[in-house]
Symmetry: C2
Subunit: 367 residues, 2 copies
């Protein structure tokens, strides 16, 4: 995507074919820093500490992690047990992200199936294929979501279309286009007057830091709001459409996404605002039936709640926002039940959030 005139992705293989390059997203929007990943441990750190985040990008990073495992293995240890062990370590870096397991397992399977002399090149090609697949899927999500926005514009006689989004399911969470943002970019590029309400998304402010940054770089009109504001905006008719991403969605349509998504879905339902979830099919977890009961919710450090990071004059800094001795809790995700979801925007098209409609779009995954 466009960053100050330069076309860039969130992850790529360096020319040496031995180093994975990523944007260190912890530094955005105040610093644009490229980081090198050379080992499996680098990849685990990048995922755990959120240099990279977002389901598709985590999947791609994990996939390249398997490549780095093969690349760096002592020649006599590139055997199955070693590779499976490294893959397990990679998968445990972010338990909620179904794409991580998906990306890791896919590259692992290809690597295990390859002859010893071809394991490294097969892992590299397999990870690269995942990256290109995610790019294609996001572009298609944009194409399939665009008609929803065009319809709203027609209903408003060409007036501004106001979309609300939570967290960052933008190209920074993917490789290009994004998931939730793909229809927004597609609408913007086709000349529709579109404006985005950007939830700041505490505690880590991925909306204020990342979504606002990437929309601004692309020239899309947007306004940052607190996570508390969405209900008010919907009550007043200031939101035409909600689009969010997801970290894991069940075959029955329950959506795990950044904490607070459920509250926006409730407000959308209460005010008759369509609530869509954009996702590539790799984010579906075909095994799970009851998201609220079965999706594990990661708890992160209390410090992420108690301290807020930003720019103090020109220096990155964090501030303590509460009494130092007060405890804080930091649940990272919540689950929005399928009954609150108007539909899914996928690379194959749009469907309602019912097991039947999901199965119709992805029949090969039916149990």
């Amino acid at each position: 995507m466009n960053v100050d005139g330069k076309n860039i992705r969130t992850i790529w293989l360096d020319k040496s074919a031995k180093i994975i390059k990523i944007i260190d997203q912890r530094k955005l929007p105040h610093r644009f820093v490229i980081a090198d990943l050379k080992t499996v441990d680098d990849v685990i750190t990048a995922i755990e500490d959120m240099y990279v985040r977002g389901a598709p990008l985590i999947g791609a990073t994990g996939a390249y992690g398997v490549f780095l495992a093969a690349l760096n293995a002592p020649h006599d240890r590139i055997g199955d047990d070693y590779m499976i062990g490294e893959a397990d370590r990679l998968k445990s870096a972010r338990p909620t992200a179904v794409n991580l397991a998906w990306g890791v397992d896919r590259v692992l399977a290809e690597t295990l199936a390859a002859r010893l002399s071809e394991k490294i090149s097969r892992a590299r090609r397999s990870a690269g294929d995942i990256v290109e697949l995610e790019v294609k899927n996001c572009r298609k999500i944009g194409e399939h979501g665009l008609p929803l926005i065009e319809q709203i514009r027609r209903n408003k006689n060409g007036g501004t279309v106001n979309v609300l989004t939570h967290c960052n399911a933008g190209w920074l969470a993917c490789i290009e286009y994004g998931t939730a943002t793909a229809p927004i970019y597609a609408a913007f590029d086709s000349g529709i007057d579109i404006h985005v309400w950007v939830d700041e998304t505490r505690p880590l402010n991925q909306g204020a830091r990342l979504t606002a940054w990437e929309l601004g770089k692309h020239g899309v009109k947007h306004t940052i709001i607190t996570d508390n504001a969405g209900g008010y905006l919907m009550q007043r008719g200031l939101v035409d459409l909600v689009i969010v991403g997801t970290d894991r969605t069940t075959a029955t349509g329950d959506v795990a996404n950044k904490i607070g998504t459920y509250l926006k879905a409730l407000a959308a339902q209460d005010n008759g605002v369509p609530f869509y979830v954009a996702l590539p099919s790799s984010t579906f977890d075909w095994e799970l039936k009851d998201g609220v009961r079965d999706i594990p919710i990661e708890q992160r450090a209390a410090e992420e709640v108690k301290y807020v990071w930003g720019l103090n004059r020109d220096t990155p800094a964090q501030v303590l926002i509460c009494p130092a001795d007060s405890p804080a809790a930091n649940f990272a995700f919540d689950v929005t039940p399928a009954r609150l979801v108007s539909g899914f925007i996928t690379e194959r098209g749009v469907c309602r959030a019912t097991p039947e409609d999901i199965r119709r779009l992805f029949p090969e995954n039916s149990n």
Copy 2:
């Protein structure tokens, strides 16, 4: 209330009887600073810039503002026009706060009715009466709310009672006890095992800064959460009761309160969690019938969203949390429709959020 062993209120008349003393709440929790108010302009600044906040405290501060107007008036200008003009200036400092107009108008009426030589002393006494009335009302809100908590404890066989609250409707928002916190302090003081989930309450973090501070000083168990977390906690059965305050409530039971309250009310309804609003009757606006349509919602500066204030090492500082050139919107309140409110806890008792039940408790205000 107890602050490090010293009993303190949020506002008092200094010994000289010419200066109003307040806690400068902008500095909490990191600094405990007492500020002097000597003029009407000081009072307006204290209200606009949120040295003081919370409906009852704003009302009391406005009331003392009328006293300061009388005290400082040039002897030949203490006439009705002057006093009415100063009262109007005071009332416009925070349009959403119905208590401000209530407190100002009550002291104004007494002052206008007094003989010239007694105007100052009458204004002082009238403002002092309002303060004592608010203290008594908050204590009674605690007494009337306590049985709700005792009932939950019985239902849980003596287990911990988990209350969620939004913003600060604590003693810092009042004079003593608080409104939403009054039943919590009453329960704590009576030995009930109680724990409070404290919404941080962006943008100004009154929950993380003020509610956590005052609960901590009193020894009440609490955990700070982001504004996004309440829905998740209710889904998982981790909230037994929501109690919030209000800045203005209609005679029909619609509740204007800090932005985000509506989202928590939706989650409470979706999960069968009781959602109560604690308020003194001075916060009822007896004229309004439709809160969503009729209650004016204040918009505040975008900078309050874009910058977060706290302590950087040991120095108060603010950090920019988003791209410097991204716009932000800052709606300060939202309105929770009466249909989402389980009931009101008032100084006269508990009632349901219906026009009939409210009228039964406060028949003298029926139209």
